[in-house]
Structures are given as structure tokens and as C-alpha cells.
């Protein structure tokens, strides 16, 4: 196993460098074939998204895979790679495995815990697999990386808290109402933010949508887009009673929803909760409405505050995720290491058994007088001695596999017992 990974991401390289090194999805198979065309490359995979380019290869043990990857990149992108050297990071063996696990777990993403990266890696994996460039160790590593990504998703809340203002509004709506099915959203005024929030609310199951605007035509357009109902602006208060969630962004100079008005609305709702999302500046909803029982008012700063708290929460979750990744890296490396010592163990057993059988044959003549039973005893006795001798070295080989000192130990054992390399 000789894993080498070369990559750049949003932290190490600016967008113009990333796009220079980008590999189009349509030419991905071609690029993989070009990579495999180099001597000594056994397996390869390329992940290329807008935030990162990663080239990972498994090469022959004695091959300098880094040089090969450099040759491939400069050849493929027709450039002098020395100009881009500072934007790349290089990882080998264990570090390459860890990096892949972290990327798949979205721990290396610009937005911590964003869900797309796992799908992107899966896509790259499937493409490489179909192109026949994954067939051994690297295949197992990527497959495990996908499993680790799913495990992090399942066992931590890394990707759950909303980290954008529109999503924060949806998250809050869910924290208040639980299920959004059957809830009515009233959109007052228009704007990028309120449209996004409404869209997300709809895809989270919100029921009816009412839209109003000072220009009725705009309301009709927006209502059409959301399959909602357009309301005349001066009829707001005839319809507002139906709303559970009110998204307001009119830019009116004074409060549209006063405390007095809100009090009456809540009484009419028999104290069922109501949620005001006030995205407009100056504000549309009197902030003191928030003091009323079962009324919740969030303005743009409040939503921003929730986003910030959620980012901190994701960072806390990332610590758990890192622990999971570290566990998984250890497991994977132990697995590889134990796979690596298998040939040595087999060679040891074979060698000692050959000695034993040679000696048995040498003494064949002097053992003719033995009964079959006695002969069996001698066989068992010699085999027993052999097993006892082997026990120590095999235990040593199996334990602590994977560490650098262990590699030296394997060499020592091979030398002592005269097992050829």
C-alpha cells in the first residue's frame, strides 16, 4: 500500500487557481485514464468540486507516486506545476486516509457539516469504479470514507443546525410548531430573503401561502410561484388572522403589526403560538410583541444571532466527529497492517514446517521400529515444539501492527528466521 493524495481546497487556493485545476465531470473518465497511464499507478480517484480538487492514487510500493501525480497534473492541465506548488497539500498513507475521512465527513468543508460533499465523493467513487481505476486498497479506503461520512451524519448533529438566515427562520418555525403541515404562511412584501424562507417553509411541509404586496401585480406573481393566494395590501388585516407564520419585509416607515393588533390576533387564535419573521428595516413588527404569551418575533439581527449560535454548535459537534474519524482511521490502518503481516506469518510457518519435515525424513530410517501410535506422538511432539517457538513472533507481528516501529520489527523477525524478502 502506497497511498498519496494531492489536493487543494477553499483555504489553500483562491478560486482562480481552483478553477485552473478543476476537472470537468464530462472529462473525468479521460483524466482517470491519463492518471492510470503513468507507470506504477495501481489505482486512482479524482474529486473535483467548486471548493476542492483532490487526486489520490495507490502506487507500487517503491514508486515515487508524488512525482507521478505531479507529472499527471502538469500534463493534464498543460501547465508548469511549480507555479501552483504552494496551493497544494500532500498527504501520504495514514494522513491520506484521515484526510479522505475528514472530507467525506464534511469536516473540511467551507460550511462545516454541509451535506453535498458526501454525495460528491460518492459520485467520484462510482465514476472511478466504473472506469476500473479502483480495485484494491484505495477502493476499500474510499468505501470506508463514505461509511465514515454516513456514521458522522448519523451519530453527531454536525449537519443539523441551520447556518443561513432563511434556514434559521425555518428551523425556528419547526422549533415552535413542530410539524409545519397545515400551517399557513403570510408573506407581506417581497425580497430575496423572504422568498427563500418561504420556499424552504414550503418544502418543509407548510400548508397554505398568502402573499401581499403594495403593488398587487407583484403579489400575484409571487403567489403564482408559490401556488399561493394573492391578497390586496389594504386587506392585510382581514386575512392575517389565518396566518401562523408571518414573514414581513415591506420597508414601511412605521410598525404594521403593533402590540395592540398582535394582542387581538393572539386572542382570536385562542393563544395558539404565532411566529413573526421580520426581515424588513425599518422593522414592521413592534419588538414588544415578543413579550406577549405565545408570540415570537425575530428580526434580521435575531436570525443572524441564531445562525451564529448554530455555527458554534456545529463546531462543538465537529469535535465529536473528529473523534469518530480518528477511531475509524485507526481501525482502517490496523486492518491494512494486519493484512500486511499475513505473508510474513505464512512464510514463517512454512519455513519452520519445512525444517521439521526435513528432520523427520532424515531420521526416517532410525524410526522404523515405532508403532503407528508412537509415530503419531513424535509428529505431535515436533509440531508442538514448532508451535511454541512460533507463538512469540506471531503474537508480536499481530500486535501493534501499523506503527512505524512495527515495520522495523517485521524486518527483524524476517531476518532472524531467514525468511526472504
Amino acid at each position: 500500500m502506497n497511498l498519496v493524495l494531492a489536493g487543494m481546497n477553499h483555504r489553500t487556493a483562491p478560486v482562480e487557481v481552483r478553477e485552473r485545476m478543476h476537472v470537468q465531470e464530462s472529462t473525468l473518465v479521460q483524466a482517470l485514464k491519463a492518471l492510470m497511464g503513468h507507470d506504477g499507478i495501481l489505482e486512482g480517484m479524482i474529486v473535483s468540486t467548486c471548493n476542492r480538487v483532490e487526486v489520490v492514487a495507490n502506487a507500487d510500493d517503491k514508486d515515487d507516486a508524488a512525482t507521478t501525480i505531479r507529472q499527471f497534473l502538469s500534463g493534464y492541465h498543460r501547465c508548469d506545476l511549480r507555479d501552483y506548488e504552494s496551493y497544494f497539500y500532500w498527504h501520504r498513507q495514514r494522513d491520506a486516509v484521515r484526510h479522505l475521512f475528514r472530507v467525506a465527513s464534511s469536516l473540511d468543508s467551507m460550511i462545516l457539516g454541509e451535506p453535498q460533499i458526501l454525495g460528491q465523493i460518492k459520485q467520484a467513487f462510482l465514476t472511478a469504479q466504473a472506469a476500473g481505476t479502483l480495485k484494491g486498497t484505495l477502493h476499500d479506503v474510499i468505501n470506508q470514507a463514505l461509511a465514515v461520512g454516513r456514521r458522522v451524519r448519523r451519530e453527531t448533529a454536525l449537519g443539523t443546525a441551520a447556518v443561513s438566515v432563511p434556514y434559521a427562520a425555518v428551523e425556528l418555525a419547526k422549533k415552535i410548531f413542530g410539524n409545519l403541515a397545515g400551517k399557513t404562511v403570510f408573506v407581506i412584501g417581497a425580497g430575496k430573503m423572504s422568498e427563500l424562507a418561504t420556499k424552504h417553509l414550503l418544502s418543509s411541509g407548510a400548508g397554505a401561502i398568502l402573499v401581499t404586496n403594495r403593488t398587487y401585480q407583484k403579489a400575484v406573481q409571487l403567489a403564482h410561484a408559490f401556488r399561493g393566494t394573492a391578497i390586496q395590501f389594504d386587506q392585510i388585516f382581514q386575512y392575517i388572522g389565518q396566518a401562523d407564520i408571518i414573514i414581513s419585509s415591506t420597508g414601511a416607515p412605521h410598525f404594521i403589526i403593533t402590540k395592540d393588533r398582535a394582542e387581538r390576533m393572539i386572542a382570536a387564535r385562542r393563544n395558539r403560538p404565532i411566529f413573526f419573521v421580520d426581515i424588513s428595516v425599518p422593522r414592521d413588527v413592534d419588538p414588544s410583541v415578543n413579550d406577549l404569551d405565545a408570540a415570537f418575533v425575530y428580526d434580521i439581527d435575531d436570525l443572524q444571532g441564531v445562525v451564529e449560535a448554530n455555527i458554534k454548535q456545529r463546531q462543538r459537534e465537529a469535535a465529536w466527529a473528529e473523534e469518530i474519524v480518528e477511531q475509524e482511521v485507526q481501525k482502517m490502518m490496523r486492518h491494512f497492517a494486519s493484512r500486511e503481516v499475513v505473508p510474513t506469518i505464512m512464510a514463517l510457518e512454512e519455513k519452520l514446517n519445512r525444517i521439521r519435515q526435513g528432520e523427520m525424513e532424515r531420521f526416517q530410517g532410525r524410526l522404523t521400529s515405532l508403532t503407528p501410535e508412537q509415530r503419531e506422538t513424535v509428529e505431535a511432539l515436533t509440531q508442538g515444539i514448532l508451535n511454541k517457538i512460533l507463538h512469540g513472533p506471531i503474537t508480536e507481528l499481530k500486535s501493534g501492527a501499523g506503527s512505524p516501529e512495527h515495520r522495523a520489527l517485521v524486518q527483524v523477525i524476517r531476518r532472524i528466521f531467514g525468511v526472504a524478502d
Partner: protein, 285 residues
């Protein structure tokens, strides 16, 4: 006969302590789920709780088999029966609301009450004492009623905390861990209805039984008076909710107060009441 009684008391005590231990274990095992903000409880903690419930059921069966009655005649067995109903109710509610916070709010209470119950002097296990079908219905209804009202206050506490998190606009630990406000409210309201129905039934059957069995002015028994007072609290909560006029925050505070009153009635007044106390003048005419 005496030796057999002693052995059975020992068996009962051992089983009860084992149940308490498993309740405690379940409580410890929910901590990682709480810390790591898992939406559900780990199977380990549910398993420990289930095992505790099973041991508890066995303990109750042993006592019932010996004395030939299920009715509690002392604080220990009354509490023990209540904890048993609570834990069973936890599983029933968890089926509908599989949320970690249910464990946070119910299991400490289950553990503490079971511990108090186990620390009481063991029961005499003498057969006889209070009997009668009405009484059995009365006690079962009261247990279910109290359980419902406990859940009402759990829902109320969760509601108040989540509401203050949402009002403060600064998400803190509880914001991420508690269920949505409407779920807290649903738990509150459903268990309020459940609790009120059984409390009413319990009081009614109790009155019927007392009027047939007890002599003297039993209507003035402190425990009966206190029960009526708590019943009125819950009736107010229910009717304001039904009319939609009550503020939810205020109702939540009242529900918590109401359950505190229930606990005082259940445990405290038992010491004052001559007829209804768990220990004195057992089965007095």
C-alpha cells in the same frame, strides 16, 4: 409461617433494591445521549429501565401473592406502586414521543422516588387489612391520575424552558435538546385530560367506598379535602384551555404547582389523616 414471612420480606426488599439499582443505571446511561444531543435514548438505557421495571413487577407480585392484596397500606408500597406506574407510563409515552428530554425529566424523578420508597421500613406483609373492589378501582385510578398529572407538569416544565429559549432569541443548551414547543404543549394537554379523568374517577370511587365503610365525618378527612383542592386546580386548567382563554405560560406554572400539591396530598397529608394515613390505625372501622 413467621419464617416464611421473613424470607418473603427479604425477597421483596432485594428485588426492590435491584429495581432501584437498574433505575439508577438507566439514569446514568441517558447522560451520554443528553450530552451528545442525540434525539433518542440509547437502547442501553431503555434496556436498563425495562429490566428495572421487570424486577419491580416481580417485587410487587411477591408482595401481592403473600398478602393477597395489591392495595398499599404504607408509604413504601404506595410509593413503590406509583413509581411502577410512572415507569410503565414512561414507556407508553416514549412510544408516541421518542425524545431524549422525556428521559431527562422523568428518570431522575423515578429514581429518587424509588429510592425513597426502598429506604422506608419494609411492610409487615400481614394478610388482610383494606379490601374491596371499589377500593381497588379507587387506588388504580388515583395512581393513573397522579401519573397523568406528573406528565402534565413534565410537559409544562419543558414548555416553559423551550418558550424562554425561544423568547430570549439566544439558542442555548436546551434549545437544541428540547422538542418543539407544540410537542411540549401536546404532551401537557393530553396528559392533563388523561390525568383529570382518572383523578375524577379515583375521587368518585373513593367517596363511594368511604361512605360504605367508614363511620364518622370522613368528608373532613384532610386527604380528601386536599384531593378535592388539587382536582379543582386541574379542572380550572382544563376548562380555561377548552375555552382558549388561558395564557399558556400561566397555565404551565399552575400545572407545576398542581403537581406539587398532588405530592403533598399523596405523601404529606398521609401523616395527618387518621382514616387515610398509610400507617396509623390500619383498617380502622
Amino acid at each position: 409461617m413467621l419464617v416464611r414471612g421473613i424470607v418473603e420480606v427479604a425477597v421483596h426488599t432485594t428485588l426492590l433494591w435491584a429495581a432501584v439499582a437498574f433505575y439508577g443505571l438507566a439514569l446514568v446511561l441517558i447522560l451520554p445521549s443528553v450530552r451528545r444531543r442525540r434525539p433518542r435514548l440509547s437502547p442501553w438505557s431503555l434496556g436498563a429501565l425495562g429490566l428495572g421495571l421487570l424486577l419491580h413487577a416481580t417485587a410487587l407480585t411477591v408482595t401481592t401473592a403473600q398478602t393477597g392484596r395489591l392495595q398499599p397500606t404504607d408509604v413504601r408500597s404506595a410509593l413503590s406502586l406509583f413509581v411502577f406506574t410512572l415507569t410503565a407510563a414512561f414507556f407508553a409515552v416514549y412510544l408516541k414521543y421518542p425524545i431524549t428530554s422525556l428521559g431527562i425529566f422523568m428518570l431522575p424523578f423515578v429514581f429518587v422516588l424509588s429510592l425513597i420508597s426502598a429506604l422506608q421500613p419494609p411492610p409487615s406483609l400481614s394478610p388482610g387489612g383494606l379490601r374491596g373492589g371499589w377500593l381497588l378501582v379507587h387506588i388504580a385510578s388515583m395512581m393513573l391520575g397522579y401519573t397523568g398529572l406528573f406528565l402534565t407538569s413534565v410537559g409544562a416544565i419543558m414548555y416553559l424552558i423551550q418558550e424562554s429559549e425561544l423568547k430570549s432569541k439566544k439558542p442555548r443548551a436546551f434549545y437544541y435538546r428540547l422538542p418543539p414547543l407544540e410537542v411540549c404543549d401536546e404532551l401537557y394537554y393530553r396528559s392533563l385530560v388523561f390525568g383529570l379523568v382518572f383523578l375524577s374517577l379515583g375521587i368518585l370511587t373513593g367517596v363511594v367506598w368511604a361512605s360504605r365503610t367508614w363511620r364518622g365525618p370522613w368528608q373532613l378527612d384532610p386527604k380528601i379535602v386536599a384531593s378535592l383542592a388539587t382536582w379543582i386546580i386541574y379542572l380550572i386548567l382544563f376548562s380555561t384551555r377548552l375555552s382558549g382563554s388561558g395564557r399558556r405560560r400561566r397555565a404551565a406554572y399552575l400545572a407545576i404547582f398542581g403537581f406539587a400539591a398532588v405530592m403533598v396530598t399523596f405523601l404529606g397529608i398521609s401523616f395527618l389523616s387518621s382514616q387515610h394515613g398509610f400507617f396509623p390505625k390500619l383498617g380502622s372501622p
